[in-house]
């Protein structure tokens, strides 16, 4: 193999961050020169590659509903604590393995789950959705009736308000993109506009809020401002093309784009229009932010702009210096991601990452930037900006403002520390 002389990539920030456009114009054999592993060989050698057994015997037959390869068994949702929690019932959550995923869509089998008393086994033919309270014509919908209404689709993230809560800890928690930030997923949702359904029922002028209640054995319920309900809220029936799965609210859930996860009430069976918030258990005993002055920020609904680098990240390996791609997710409950800056030197210098389209409001956006790791210590950070002009804060700034009590809505910049041996850990900058 005739090696080409190494070509230089254009550096965009400190510690090896490479201009994101370096590869867009086909830079000319630059990757292998920078230490990307391929096995260069002569054509004669190449022809002698081993013929694998699976090319010699007929393959497997079809299945009505497909599954991942057995070699991907390690790509699974998991709990942050109590390894057996996933097999029990009761309250809990399991998290998406963000470090193994790519693109913007979370496959349905790996969408995160949070439930307050297990997953109800709902017969869709018996399920009913009641619309009542401050309406002129109370309505009860079967799934079949609801399915005849005009539908809309949108790609939208859902994030638990408690996601990334570990970043309120005094010292940096050990963890991975999954265990620290995996209460986040993104799917294409299809269903009926809630505005249309409320219009059918006739909204009483006094109505300013609604109560949404699930048919789960916790009767999980939240209050939603009517203005939001009439804006972009959907009664979702489909997730990534197929009917929503039991763990995500089968046969119907509320989709409240950009608002904290548990307002997207799963197993939705009741909407009651009200004058004020209902002050349910799920919005008083929890899901509010205890601030450092002892006051509580209740009804902080939208999730502020945030990002996480998923690759490289803890649990993945970096075997040798050379060229890597830094890849991650950015999202904002307030609008559309306009920019993600990445740092390899712990926040001293930043370079803009490429955003992978389609870039949609209240959906995750995949960002990527090439990085030439020199084998020395590094600290990777990503910082998201949305179209309101909001800039994702450092952890220091967030803690200075809120203190360490809030537990929820932590959208601080995460810092992945990379040691000379290639081991990646969560560390405060």
């Amino acid at each position: 193999m005739a090696k080409k002389p190494p070509q230089e990539l254009t550096l965009a920030a400190g510690n090896g961050l490479v201009d994101r456009r370096s590869f867009l114009g086909r830079a000319g054999g630059v990757a292998s020169a920078l230490g990307l592993a391929t096995l260069g060989m002569s054509s004669a050698q190449a022809e002698q590659l081993k013929v694998q057994d699976w090319t010699k015997t007929p393959g497997l037959g079809f299945t009505p509903y497909g599954q991942p390869s057995k070699y991907e068994n390690g790509v699974a949702r998991g709990p942050i604590i109590e390894p057996n929690a996933m097999y029990k019932t009761g309250p809990g959550s399991i998290r998406s393995p963000l470090q193994f995923l790519e693109g913007m869509i979370t496959p349905n089998g790996l969408h995160f789950e949070r439930s307050h008393n297990g997953i109800p086994d709902i017969n869709p033919d018996e399920h009913r959705l009641l619309i009542h309270g401050l309406v002129k014509r109370p309505q009860v919908f079967t799934l079949e009736a609801l399915s005849r209404y005009p539908m809309t689709s949108r790609i939208s993230f859902v994030e638990c308000a408690g996601n990334s809560g570990a970043l309120y800890a005094k010292t940096a928690a050990e963890g991975t993109a999954q265990t620290l930030h995996g209460l986040l997923s993104c799917a294409e949702w299809t269903g009926v506009s809630l505005a249309l359904i409320l219009d059918e029922a006739g909204i009483h002028p006094k109505a300013k809020w609604l109560l949404a209640e699930g048919a789960d054995p916790a009767s999980m319920s939240r209050s939603v401002p009517l203005a939001k309900a009439l804006d972009d809220v959907m009664i979702a029936l489909y997730q990534n093309g197929e009917r929503i799965r039991p763990s995500n609210g089968y046969p119907m859930r509320l989709l409240v784009p950009g608002f904290q996860g548990n307002m997207n009430v799963k197993w939705l069976h009741r909407i009651k229009l009200t004058e004020g918030p209902t002050m349910t258990r799920d919005e008083t005993s929890r899901y509010s932010l205890l601030l450092k002055d002892g006051k509580v920020a209740q009804f902080k609904f939208p999730l502020d702009a945030k990002s996480v680098i998923t690759r490289p990240s803890p649990g993945l390996t970096m075997k040798a210096p050379g060229l890597y791609e830094i890849s991650g997710l950015a999202w904002s409950g307030n609008g559309t991601i306009t920019r993600v800056d990445v740092s390899a030197d712990g926040g001293k210098t930043f370079a803009p990452a490429a955003l992978s389209g389609p870039v949609l409001p209240k959906a995750v956006t995949r960002f990527r930037i090439p990085w030439k790791w020199d084998g020395g210590p590094a600290m990777l950070q990503a910082r998201a900006v949305d179209d309101t002009g909001y800039v994702q804060p450092t952890r220091d700034a967030l803690v200075a403002e809120r203190g360490l009590n809030p537990a929820y809505h932590n959208n601080a910049i995460t810092n992945w520390s990379i040691a000379a041996d290639g081991v990646i850990k969560h560390a405060y900058a």
Copy 2:
């Protein structure tokens, strides 16, 4: 319940097609007046709705990898003939249940499959991708090496060239959206630009084509023009966020956006740059169009603009007159869908459907339009237009041009005939 007087919707074409904007501005309780089934009741009655068993006992625990509800078992891929074929090995295909799906994403478990000798059970650590032929530096990639290269994502459809082949039959075949048109799916694909990999290998000036070969036991192989390879072809590693599944090419496949399905070579293990097409078995004995003059149209790669109404469609029921939504998919291998027109009177009059965003090139686009069925006979058709100005042809026009021999690339307008009893059948207009 106080019934509001019926309100009129604005009609947009013959036989009840309703202006697609009727619902966008919240038309005021118009749906129930038009015969959409809800169970209106007093608040007192509503409070007495049955409390279902699943709200009274703790629900089910979590699972590492989720599955659909058991009540959705009927939503499955299936073969068009030989019900047991799916359990055998050998050549065959199973089709996506389009009539049960919504939105633009096909969930991975329901993506259509076509294989020529079963699905190989590939160990990703043992798999190799060889780049050779007219290149300056032959390369062999492991999955791990390839995974370090810069990646891109795009939402793209894959459609088998033989999809909808039944529409070449002299008399209208019985069938559903699944059995007639289900060799079509759409996913978000993530992987490495083939241009980047070929650039690593160094393209010899004489190279104008490439051979792509799979590691399946049929050694399925196709020739791809180099110009296309350098345009938008990807070595795809991920499908809807997770690693591609065995049935869709694990651990890597070619994604050739807009070109006929089997050029998107699955289980990709070899790319050889060549001066001309290799004339493989899979592009000479089949996947070419036998025209009515006895000539063969070989290497017709892009799939022309097409659409199919998925709801209502055969197998679904229409129990009573009233308001329905017509929903379907449109796509073009040559670009972006700009317009879908829908007819309820067998093609006499058409009205434009709403296109659900994001509308992306070489991806499916979901279209929808409301329809007030009066209970009489109807014939539903959709007609797609793309940004090249191409208009999906009627079956008569397609057959007049090509005859009944071609078997492949049938993109004619499909006609669903609806009888007064609500039964929906495939019928030529």
